[in-house]
C-alpha cells in the first residue's frame, strides 16, 4: 500500500475506533444502570418474602438484617454475581467485546498512521492525544483483566471518546514528516513513556474520582443506616408487645452488620442510589487507584528523565525550566505527595485522593495548557 492509502486507512480506522468506543460506552453505562435496577428488584423480592414469613416485629428486624447480610456479598465482591443475572451479563459482554474490537482498531490506526509517515506515530498533538487515549484504554483493559474493574469501563470510555473527539475536531493534522528536533530515536522512548504513564494516570484518576463519590455515599448511608436501624428496632418494639429483649438483639444484629462490615452493606440494604451501588467499596477503589498510580509513577519519572537526556542531546541542556518541564515536574511532585500522603496518618483517604486529582489536573494542564497557552520548546502543535 502506498503512503496515501495507509494514511486514508488510518483515518478510517480512527473513525471506527470512535464509533466502537461510543457504543461500548453506552453498553458499559447500560450495565451500570440496568444491572442495578434488576438487582434492586431482586433484593426487594427477597426482603418481602422474608417479611411475609416473619409474623412478629423481631423477625421483621431480623429480615432486614439478613437481607443486609446477603446483599453484602455481591457488592463487596463485584463480578462474582455475574452469572446470577442473564441480561446484565449480556450488556457487560457486549461492552467488553466492543471495547476490545475498538482497541484493536485503535492499535491499527496508530500502526497505519506511523507506517504512512514512516516514523513514530506520536509527533504532533493529534497523534499524541490519540496515543494517550490508546494507553488509557489499554491500562483499563489490563486493570479489568487483573482486578475485575469493569465498573471503570464507562468512565474510561467516556474519557477516551472525549480525547479522540478533541483530537479529531481541533487537533487533526495530516500524516507528514516531523520537525528536525523530533527526529530522534528518543521520541520512541521518551514519548512512549509519557503516553503510557498518562494513560495509566487517567485510569487511576477515574478510580480516584469514583472513590471520592463512593466514600461520600458510604459515609452518608452509614449514618442513614444507623438511623434506619434504630427506627426498625423501635417499630419492632412497639409491634411485638412483650418483645423488648428481642428488639434489643435485633438492634445489636443490624448494628453489627452496618458497623463491622464495609459500608456498602448498608448501601445495598437501603436499595443503594443508582449506579454507585454497582461500584465496589471505596477502599477497593482507593487501593486500585494507588496500584495504578504506583505503576505509572516510576514510568512518569523515567519519562521525565529520558526527556532530560533527550533535551541534553537536542537543546544542549538537560533541564531548562521550559514550561513543559515545569509542569511535568509539578505533576511529578504532586503525585509524589499523593504517594506519601497515602502512607501518612491523617492524610490517607480523602485528602490523598484530592491530591491525586490535583496531580491529574496538572497532568492535563501540562498537555493542553502548556502547549496552547505558553510558548516553549515543546510547542509542536
Amino acid at each position: 500500500m502506498s503512503h496515501a492509502d495507509l494514511a486514508n486507512l488510518s483515518d478510517k480506522l480512527m473513525l471506527s475506533t470512535v464509533v466502537l468506543y461510543i457504543v461500548a460506552l453506552v453498553a458499559y453505562a447500560a450495565d451500570l444502570g440496568f444491572g442495578q435496577r434488576r438487582r434492586d428488584a431482586e433484593i426487594a423480592e427477597t426482603t418481602k418474602a422474608k417479611v411475609l414469613v416473619g409474623a412478629d416485629g423481631a423477625e421483621v428486624a431480623d429480615a432486614s438484617a439478613a437481607s443486609a447480610g446477603t446483599s453484602a456479598g455481591p457488592s463487596a465482591a463485584s463480578g462474582d454475581d455475574a452469572g446470577a443475572d442473564g441480561r446484565k451479563v449480556e450488556w457487560m459482554r457486549l461492552a467488553i467485546l466492543l471495547n476490545v474490537i475498538g482497541w484493536a482498531a485503535h492499535l491499527g490506526f496508530i500502526a497505519t498512521r506511523g507506517l504512512s509517515a514512516s516514523r513514530w506515530p506520536w509527533a504532533n498533538m493529534y497523534e499524541f492525544l490519540a496515543a494517550i487515549a490508546f494507553a488509557a484504554v489499554t491500562a483499563f483493559l489490563v486493570v479489568m483483566w487483573r482486578y475485575r474493574a469493569q465498573f471503570l469501563g464507562a468512565f474510561v470510555m467516556a474519557a477516551a471518546v472525549l480525547a479522540l473527539g478533541v483530537a479529531n475536531i481541533w487537533l487533526y493534522d495530516k500524516a507528514g514528516p516531523v520537525v528536525p528536533a523530533l527526529n530522534s530515536y528518543w521520541i520512541a522512548i521518551h514519548v512512549t513513556a509519557a503516553i503510557t504513564a498518562t494513560g495509566a494516570f487517567t485510569v487511576a484518576g477515574a478510580s480516584t474520582l469514583l472513590y471520592l463519590l463512593k466514600a461520600r455515599q458510604e459515609a452518608r448511608l452509614a449514618t442513614a443506616a444507623t438511623a434506619a436501624t434504630a427506627a426498625t428496632a423501635a417499630t419492632a418494639a412497639t409491634a411485638a408487645t412483650a418483645a423488648t429483649a428481642t428488639a434489643a438483639t435485633a438492634t445489636a444484629a443490624t448494628g453489627r452488620a452496618a458497623g463491622s462490615g464495609p459500608a456498602p452493606v448498608a448501601a445495598t440494604a437501603l436499595g443503594g442510589s443508582g449506579f454507585m451501588s454497582r461500584v465496589p467499596a471505596a477502599e477497593t477503589l482507593d487501593r486500585l487507584a494507588l496500584r495504578v498510580t504506583m505503576f505509572a509513577f516510576p514510568i512518569w519519572t523515567a519519562a521525565i528523565i529520558m526527556g532530560a537526556i533527550w533535551a541534553d542531546e537536542a537543546w544542549g541542556r538537560y533541564w531548562g525550566w521550559d514550561p513543559k518541564e515545569i509542569w511535568s515536574f509539578v505533576t511529578w511532585i504532586i503525585y509524589a505527595a499523593y504517594l506519601h500522603a497515602r502512607a501518612t496518618a491523617g492524610w490517607k483517604g480523602r485528602k490523598a485522593a484530592i491530591l491525586s486529582l490535583i496531580a491529574f489536573a496538572a497532568l492535563l494542564f501540562n498537555f493542553f495548557g502548556v502547549n496552547y497557552i505558553f510558548s516553549g520548546l515543546h510547542s509542536y502543535a
Binding site: 507528514g176 514528516p177 537543546w315 509539578v330 496518618a345 492524610w347
Partner: protein, 588 residues
Amino acid sequence: MTNSSDTTAAADEAAADEATAADAAVGAAATAAPAARQAPGDGPRPKGLGPVGWLRWGWRQLTTMRTALILLFLVALGAVPGSILPQRGQAPEKVADYFDKHQTAAPWLDRLSLFDVFAAPWFAAIYILLFVSLAGCVIPRAVKHYKSMRARPPAAPRNLSRLPQSASYETDASPEEVLAEARALLRGRRFRTDLSTGGGKGTAGSAVAAEKGYLGETGNLVFHLALLALLFALGMGNLFGYRGNVVLAEGKSFANALNNYDQFMPGRAFDTDALAPFSISLDDFTATYEAKGEKRGQATDFEAKIRYRDEPSAPEKKYDLRVNHPLKAGGAKVYLLGHGYAPAFTVRDGKGDIAFKDTVPFLAMEQRNYTSEGVIKAPDAEPEQLAFYAILWPTAMASEDGKQIISAFPGPLRPMVTVSSFKGDIGLDSGAPQSVYKLEGIGKTLQPIKGGQKLLEPGESFELPDGAGTVTFDGLKEWTSLSINRDPGRVPALIAAILAVAGVATSFMVRRRRVWVRATAAKGGRTVVEVGGLTLGNPTPEFDDIVAALRGPVAEEPAGEPAVERADERADEPGTDRDPGSATESKE
C-alpha cells in the same frame, strides 16, 4: 542528628506495633513509601524547653511527613509562576517586554524574584528545607535499615491468628521437626530466618521468625538518596560549568575563547582559563524543507558540515553537526541550535574603495518563510560613513494584491533584498557597544539618502545617488547559532537519575514480608502448628503457598512428599505475588 534517631525510634515502635496489632491489615500502608514519618507531630508542645529543646522540636517538625508533604506542595506551587511569567534565564527579552507593558506590577513581581523563580531565594529556601527534611528522615532510616538487615527477624507475636494472614493445623511430627522443616522451607524461599525457643511470657512453644523483601526499603532509600545526589549534581554543574552561544556564518571559524562568544554564561566557580582550546569552521549549512503537499515549507532536516580541532596542534576532523547530534570537543559539547540567512555584501565608498565586504547575519522577521532583516555598517566609508537597512526574501514573489513582496518559501529559491541607504555617523567611534542587527541614531546622526532604496538580486549592484558609493548583493549564505557548554554535573546527574528510577520501581515492586511458624506440643503426641504472615501492604498469595508447602507433605502420606514440595517451591519462586489461584482457595 541524635534527635532524629528519636524520631525513627518512635517510628520503630509504630512499626513494631503494626506488626503485632490485630488490625494490621487496615493500618498497614500499601506503599513501601516511608510510613514511619508520623510520630512526633502530635507530641506535647514544648514549654520552657530552652534553645536545645526548641531546636529538637523544630528538627522533629521538619522531619515529619506532614512537613515534607507541605514542602512538596510548596515546591510545586512555587514552580508554577515560572511557567506563567517570562523568566530571565530563558527569555530576558520577554521580561523586558513585560516590564514595558506592566509598569506598576512588574517591579513588585521583580522584588519577589518572580522573573527568576528558579534562582529565587524563597524557592531555594523551600527546596533546601525539603531536602534537609528528606535527609533528616532518610539517612537515619538508612542506618536503621542497614541494622535491621543484619539483625534477627522480629520475634513471633503472641497470637498468630490475629495477623492478617494466618493458618493452623495439627501434625504428627514433633515440634522440632516442624520448625526445622519450616526453617529449611523458608530459607529455600530466600527468607532470613531465626529460631526462638519458647517459654518466656506465657508463649508456649518455639517459633521460627522469617523476613524477606528488604530490597523494597533499599529501593525506597536509594530513590530518596539519589534525589539528593541529583540535586548536588545539578548544583555542581551550575557552579563549575559554562555555556555560551555563537553565531557562525558559512565560511567562518570559531576558536573557543571568551571574547569570541556572542553570549557567555559561566558558572560561579568557573575558571575562564579552563576553556578547552578547540576550534570549529563552518563549511556549509543546509536546511531541507518539505517542497510540496500540505506540509510545504516545514523543515525536515538541518545539517552543518564543520571541521574542528580538539586543540590547535591536533589534526583536523570533519563532523556533520545536526539537531539531536551534538559534537563533543575538548570536554565541551557543541549543539546546532538555530539558523538564518547571512547575505554577503560589498560596499564601495565615494572614492571607489571597498569600505565593507562580508556576510551579515540577518534575523528572521517571521519563522514560516524566513523573511529576514539586517543592517550593514560601513564605518570606513569616505567621506561619510555609510549604513544600510535591508530586508531579505529567500523566495521572493508578489503578494496576492500585487502591492508587496513576500517570501513564499523558507528555502532560498529566489532570494531578493531591498536596501535603504543612510549616511552620516554610525556611532561606532565612541566605543559604545551596538547591536549588529540595528542602526542607531537614524534621523539624528544618520540621515537617510534620498532615492537610496533599491531591490537587488544576487550579483546586482546599486549605485547610490550623488556618487556616495555602491552596494553590491554578492550572494546568499547562511548562519547557524551554536550553543557550546560544559557541564561537569552531567554524568553524575545521569547516574543519580537512573538510580532514582531503579530505586522507586524496586520499592514499589518488592514488599517486606514476615512469616512466623510456631509449633506447640499438644495432647496425644500431636503438634499444633500456627503460621502467621504479615506483608507490608496487602496480603500476598505467597503466604498460602508457604502454608500449603508446610502442611502438604506432613498431612499427606510421606511417600510423595519431596516431589510435591519441590515442584511447589520452584513454581512460585520468582513471581509469587501474581498467582491468583492459590490465594483465594486456602483463605476464607
